[in-house]
């Protein structure tokens, strides 16, 4: 049995769900939006059992051979009520996340992906140390709260972008030096050398790699007005480097943001541990989703 936790409104989760159905794999799907009705119990003195109920459905998670987890921030759902001051320190929905996270980290089942492995994405610079050790180039980075240092960094590197240091989504923007003149005191901000080249998104699924080239008129292609994606083939040594990096980070599935420069240097900006790969499936091919489903079915 394969445990699937996410939203069917999410094209990526839905495509994995449909591919599992097509290959006849048994699936225990739990809708993440039902988190307020989800109850998880974890108990034992060594060989713990983990039991989940959601409405009338009931699942013994220890019987799962694999799991695909794409949870969301439950506080974003309509109907979320912030715990009052005298409520327990941790609400039941947050506790569902903690307990399923603990189960996912400890189970021998195949998990895409274990929460502890996903955690590297919470610090871009921490992750960059692993990316660099994995053989990719990384852009020069500076975290500073001093506008003068940011100017100096820009003088040295020419074009500079700024973005969040954490996994909180931010729109990547190019630094305009005049903006620094206008800004007052600032907290620590991540500035990064802007790497010019072709954006390539590489999805690693176990030992397989699927790549898409992205042409865009924007600094951050996710928010650009004009973006065109096409299937790409990575040089074998780069594909191998991608697989090795994902393994190094403990990720079974990863979305790697790459840039290849005109001189052929390969940069990796980030490894996304829960990639929305459906967006990159050319012509609705679902070949990434199918590969994920086959991996899950193999357990």
């Amino acid at each position: 049995m394969i445990f699937l936790w996410g939203l069917l409104e999410d094209a990526t989760t839905r495509s994995v769900y449909e591919c599992l159905d097509e290959i006849g794999a048994p699936v225990a799907f739990v809708n993440h939006a039902d988190i307020a009705r989800t109850i998880v119990r974890l108990a034992g003195d060594g060989a713990e059992f983990c039991h989940l109920t959601c409405g009338a459905a009931s699942h013994e998670l220890d019987e799962m051979s694999a799991a695909y987890l794409r949870p969301y921030d439950h506080r974003d759902y309509a109907g979320y009520v912030k715990p009052a001051g005298d409520a327990p320190a941790i609400g039941s929905s947050a506790l569902v996340h903690h307990l399923l996270g603990a189960w996912a980290d400890g189970t021998p089942a195949l998990v895409i992906n274990r929460p502890t492995a996903e955690a590297s994405n919470h610090s871009k610079l921490f992750q960059a140390t692993h990316i660099r050790a994995g053989g990719f180039s990384v852009p020069a980075s500076l975290v500073t709260n001093e506008p003068d240092r940011a100017r100096e960094f820009q003088r040295r590197h020419g074009r500079v972008i700024y973005k969040s240091m954490s996994s909180v989504r931010s729109v990547v923007q190019e630094l305009d030096a005049s903006a620094l003149d206008a800004i007052g005191p600032m907290g620590p901000v991540l500035f990064q050398e802007r790497v010019i080249g072709t954006n390539v998104r590489a999805h690693v699924v176990g030992e397989a790699v699927f790549a898409a080239a992205i042409e865009s008129d924007g600094v951050d292609y996710r928010y650009a007005d004009a973006t065109r994606m096409s299937r790409a083939e990575l040089p074998p040594e780069i594909a191998e480097r991608c697989v090795t990096l994902a393994k190094r980070l403990g990720l079974v599935v990863a979305g790697l943001d790459l840039i290849v420069t005109a001189s052929g240097e390969w940069y990796c900006l980030e490894a996304n541990p829960s990639p929305a790969f459906a967006v990159f499936e050319a012509g609705g091919s679902r070949e990434i989703a199918r590969q994920v489903a086959e991996l899950l079915a193999a357990g």
Partner: protein, 235 residues
């Protein structure tokens, strides 16, 4: 310079930093200092990074050590930001500290990982998985998401056994097999400091209940052990 990284409201940490400073260069540092005092952290050339301690710029290469008493950065810590900004800034400073504390060449008690600023797990259940893997019996827990009761508290009638270790040395021995088990767990978890709590079972043995990676600086034995730890590295 030895830094004691702690919450702005941690008075025990402030007192410990003063105590440590009587014997070596040491200072308390908080998220407020990181946010407002000049800070320049670089990658890949991390050794060129600088932070400001008590108004003076310090190269990270000159730091002699860090005692970290912050397992995570929570929005409530950042009272100097507008309320609407605190959650974002907490994630940002946490991300910065994850990189900073894991990249320093000097000893860090405990070195940050992606999961926690003070060790390999933020989720306390992670330690149970690890303890099970090193063969220690576990105390029974029963957690249900809709009726939370902290499973790691010692109940009335339980006989707790507590052991702390630092640098593969037991600093508060129990004179039971919990001492060796705590050293084994610290080694498996890759942490310098670990405090583990066990419950005595009916057979004269112990069962693991919980582990804590933030040094207990209210304990005189722990404070002395940390001072000795750094003194030994200066010699």
């Amino acid at each position: 310079m030895i830094l004691v990284l702690a919450s702005i409201i941690d008075e025990a940490a402030a007192s410990f930093a003063r105590e440590l400073a009587s014997d070596a260069a040491a200072s308390l540092i908080t998220c407020a200092d990181l946010a407002s005092a000049p800070l320049n952290v670089r990658h890949p050339d991390f050794d060129a990074s600088t932070i400001t301690v008590r108004g003076e710029s310090w190269s990270v290469a000159r730091l002699a050590g860090v005692v970290n008493l912050l397992p995570a950065v929570f929005p409530d810590e950042l009272v100097f930001y507008d309320e609407g900004e605190r959650e974002y800034q907490a994630a940002e400073i946490h991300a910065l500290l994850t990189f900073f504390l894991s990249s320093l060449a000097c000893p860090v008690i405990n070195r940050a990982t992606a999961a926690s600023l003070t060790g390999p797990f933020l989720n306390p259940l992670g330690w149970r998985h690890l303890m099970r893997s090193v063969g220690t019996p576990l105390a029974r827990i029963d957690i249900t998401s809709d009726a939370f009761a902290n499973p790691f508290l010692v109940s009335a009638g339980d006989e707790p056994v507590e052991v702390a270790c630092l640098g593969q040395r037991v600093i508060t021995p129990s004179l039971t097999d919990a001492d060796a088990r705590t050293l084994a767990l610290a080694s498996a978890g890759g942490v310098d400091y670990l405090r583990a709590v066990y419950l005595r079972d009916g057979d004269g043995g112990v069962r693991f209940l919980s582990a804590h990676t933030t040094p207990d600086v209210k304990s005189a034995a722990t404070r002395a052990a940390i001072a000795d730890y750094f003194a030994a590295r200066r010699r």
